[in-house]
C-alpha cells in the first residue's frame, strides 16, 4: 500500500528524483562535495542528510486518527533561502510545520534542525502560526504579544523586564507597527495582526523560521512589507519556510519551492520546480483554472533567464 501509492503517483515524484539535479547546487555547496552528491543523487536521499542543513526531514509520516496526512516526507532545506510550501487544501502543509515543531505526533520519521532534534534546538526556530489560530479578543496589547516571543529566553517565573520590552518594541517597528504598540489586539486590522505575529517571531532572532500562511487575508501593503522582511531575513542568512496559497506570486517571492500533496511532489529552486507538470501533479484536475496562469508564469521566468 505504502509503496504502491508512492510509485503510482510518479516515479520521480519524491524530492530526490525530480528535485535533486537542480537543487544539488544549493545543497551540495553547503556540504562542500558537489561531485559525490551529483553522482548518486537519488539513492543517497534519506540516508545522508547534510548535518548542517537548517531543517532535515527524514521519511516523516504523520497521521490523524489513523488517516495519514503526510507520507514519507523527505526534505533538506537549503540554508539562507526562502522556501515556499505550496499545495492544495488538505495537502498537509500546516501539518508539516506542526510535525516539525512536535505539535502533532509523527507516525514515523525524524526531524533535525542543524543536525540535532528540535527539542534541543528550539531557540533556533521561530514559528508564526496561522492568524486564525488564536482569539484576537484576548486582553493584551500588540507589544505584549510580541514580548511573548522573548518568554523562552526569559525563562520560568521571571517577569518581562524593560530589556525584553525594548526588544519587542524594536521588532514591532521593524514591521512598521511601533505606533500601535499599546493598541489592544482586537483593534488591529487583519494585516496588522499578521505583522504582530511576524514581529513575535522576529524578536526570537531565530535562524529558521516556519510560517503558516503569513500572507493569508492581509492587505497589499502588508504583503509587501512582509515580503521585504522575508528578503531581509534571507539576506541575513536566515532560512524561511512559508506556507503559501497564491500561486501567482510564488516565483516572485520564493527562491525554493516545495510542492506538497500528502507527499512531496517536487522540491527545489523555484525556476526549475515550479513548472506546469509539477503543479498539475500537485493539484491534479483541480488546477485547470490555474493551469494557464502557471504556464504563462513559467514561460515568463524562462524568458527572463
Amino acid at each position: 500500500m505504502h509503496r504502491s501509492l508512492k510509485d503510482d503517483a510518479s516515479p520521480d515524484a519524491r524530492s530526490c528524483g525530480a528535485a535533486e539535479p537542480s537543487s544539488e547546487s544549493g545543497v551540495a555547496s553547503l556540504i562542500g562535495g558537489a561531485a559525490t552528491a551529483a553522482s548518486s543523487p537519488c539513492v543517497a536521499s534519506g540516508e545522508e542528510h547534510p548535518s548542517s542543513s537548517p531543517l532535515s526531514i527524514h521519511d516523516m509520516t504523520v497521521a490523524y486518527h489513523r488517516k495519514p496526512v503526510l507520507w514519507d516526507v523527505d526534505f533538506d532545506a537549503p540554508e539562507g533561502k526562502l522556501i515556499g510550501i505550496v499545495g492544495p487544501n488538505g495537502a498537509g502543509k500546516s501539518t508539516l510545520l506542526k510535525a516539525v515543531l512536535e505539535l502533532v505526533p509523527k507516525a514515523s520519521g525524524r526531524v533535525t534542525i542543524y543536525g540535532a532534534p528540535y527539542r534541543r534546538q528550539r531557540r533556533l526556530v521561530g514559528y508564526v502560526p496561522q492568524r486564525e489560530s488564536v482569539d484576537w479578543d484576548f486582553p493584551v496589547s500588540a507589544l505584549d504579544v510580541v514580548a511573548m516571543g522573548t518568554y523562552a529566553r526569559i525563562g520560568w517565573l521571571r517577569p518581562v523586564t524593560r530589556k525584553y520590552k525594548d526588544a519587542a518594541l524594536a521588532a514591532l517597528s521593524r514591521v512598521g507597527m511601533a505606533d500601535y504598540a499599546d493598541r489592544q489586539i482586537s483593534q488591529l486590522s487583519g494585516g496588522q495582526q499578521q505583522r504582530v505575529f511576524l514581529a513575535r517571531a522576529l524578536v526570537q532572532d531565530a535562524k529558521v523560521y516556519l510560517m503558516d500562511e503569513p500572507f493569508a487575508g492581509v492587505d497589499a501593503a502588508t504583503e509587501k512589507a512582509i515580503v521585504r522582511i522575508l528578503h531581509d531575513l534571507r539576506d541575513a542568512g536566515r532560512t524561511v519556510l512559508a506556507v503559501h496559497h497564491d500561486l501567482q506570486t510564488v516565483p516572485e517571492y520564493f527562491d525554493h519551492v516545495m510542492l506538497l500533496n500528502m507527499r512531496i511532489v517536487a522540491s527545489g529552486p523555484t525556476r526549475d520546480m515550479f513548472t506546469r507538470e509539477n503543479l498539475q501533479k500537485t493539484y491534479g484536475g483541480r488546477l485547470t483554472l490555474l493551469d494557464q496562469a502557471a504556464h504563462a508564469m513559467a514561460r515568463g521566468i524562462a524568458n527572463s533567464e
Partner: protein, 496 residues
Amino acid sequence: MRNEECKMTGAAPWAGFRRWCRVVVGLLGVFLVLWASTSALAQASAGRSKSLADTRLELPSAAQVADVLLLRDYNTRVVVLGTMLLGLGAGVIGTFLLLRKRALMGDALSHATLPGIALAFIVMTRFGGSGKSLPGLLVGATIFGGIGVACVLLIRGATRLKEDTALGIVLSVFFGLGVSVLGVIQKMDTGSAAGLESFIYGKTASMLASDAKLIAGAAALTVVGCAIFYKEFSLLCFDESFARSQGWPRLLLDGAMMAMVVMITVIGLGAVGLILMIALLVIPPAAARFWSHRLGPTVLIAGGIGAASGWVGASISALAARLPAGAIIVLTAAAAFVLSMIFGVQRGVLVRGVELWRLRRSVARQHLLRAMYEAEESGSAGAGVGEVELLRARSWSRRALGGGLRRARSAGEVEPGDAGRWRLTEAGRVAAARVVRNHRLWELYLVTHADIAPSHVDRDADELEHVLGAAMVEELELLLARDESRAVVPASPHAL
C-alpha cells in the same frame, strides 16, 4: 480616536493615569449604586415590615447596619472576610479559566465533587469517625473533582466528542451519582447526615473562623500562584501552539491552573455551594472585561469585583437573615456584571453608544460644513445656500439637515440669510475651510500613497500633521496646489 491615541503616546504616563482614573471612578460608581440599592431595599422592607408581618425580612436598624459594615460582630467578620477572600481568589483564577475557554470546566468540576463528599462521609463513618470532619470531606471532594476533570479530558481525547458534550455528560452523571449516594446515606443507621446537602446550596452563615482561615490560605495560594505563573499562563491562554513550540510544558501549566481552580472550588463549596460556585469563577472576570483591555488590570479588577461581591452579598445576607448568602453573593456579582456591561469604560454599552453618537454628530457637522463651503466655493451662492441645494448635495433627510443646521447655528458656524437661505459665519468659514482642506488632503493622500494609506487613514483627524507628519502634509498641499483639475484649492483663511 486614533488621533487622540497619537497624542496620548506623547504623554504616555498621563494617559495611563487618566485611563486608570476612569476605571477606578467607574468601579466606585458601580459599587456605590450597589450600596445605594441595598440600603434602599433595607429601608423599603423596614417601611413595610409592620403591615406584612408574614413575609417580613428582618429589619436592620441603623445600629445593625453599622455593626455589619464595620465588622463589629465576630460572626459577621468571619463570614464577610471569608466570602471576600473567596471572591478574590475565584475572580483571579477565574480570569485565566475564562481566557483558557474552560469556564464550564469549573462547573463540571464543582458538580463532580458531590459524590466525593458523600463517599468521604461514608468512609469516615465506617472507620468510626464523625463523618463530618471538614478536611476529610474536602479531600473526597478534591479527589472526585479531579476525577471529573480527568473524565472530561478523557472523553474529549479518546472520542471525537466536543468538549461541551463531555462537560454535559460528566456534570450531570457525577451530580446524579452524588445525589444517589446521599440517598443511600439517609437510609444508613449511622446516618446523621443532615448538613451534607449544604454543600449543594452552600451555607455561608455558619462559616467558622477555621473555614475562613482555610479560604484565606487557598485565596493567598491562588493569588501568589497566578502572580508567579502570570507570564506562562497568559502565553498558554493566548496561543497554546506557540507556547508548546517554545517548549513550555502545556500539561504542567494546565495542571497548575486546574489545581488552583479545584482548590478554590472545593474550598468555596461550603460557602456558596457547588451549584453556584461557577458564578464566582465566571462572572467577575466577565464583568472585568468591560473595564480593561489589558490582562493585568483585568485580573486585578476581576479579583476586586469578586471580593466586593462577597463583601456586599455577605453583608446583605447578614442584615436580612432570611436571604441565603450564597445566592445573594451571586446576585450581587451579577448586578456588578450588568452595571459593568452598561457603564464599563472599555466596551460598555453606554460608552460605545456615546462614542457612536458623537461620531455621527461629528460626521454630520463635517458634511454640512463641507457642503456649505463647496456651494459657496462654486460661486453660485453669493447670498447663501438654500436648503434645497444642500439637500441635493448629500443624501440626507430634511430632518437630519434641519437638525444639523440648528446645531451649527447655535455653535455660531452658520447664520440665516435672506429667503430661507443659509450662510457660513466667519468662524464657520474657518472651520469649514479646515474640514475641506483635510478632506481633500486625505483624498489626495489615498490617491498618491494608496499602498501605505490604509494603516494611517483616520478621517476624523482634525490635525493631519499628527497622523501623517508635517512634511507629508506639506508635500500633499503642494500637490494639491499644482493639480490643475482641482483649481478649487481652499484659499486658506489662516496660517496652516
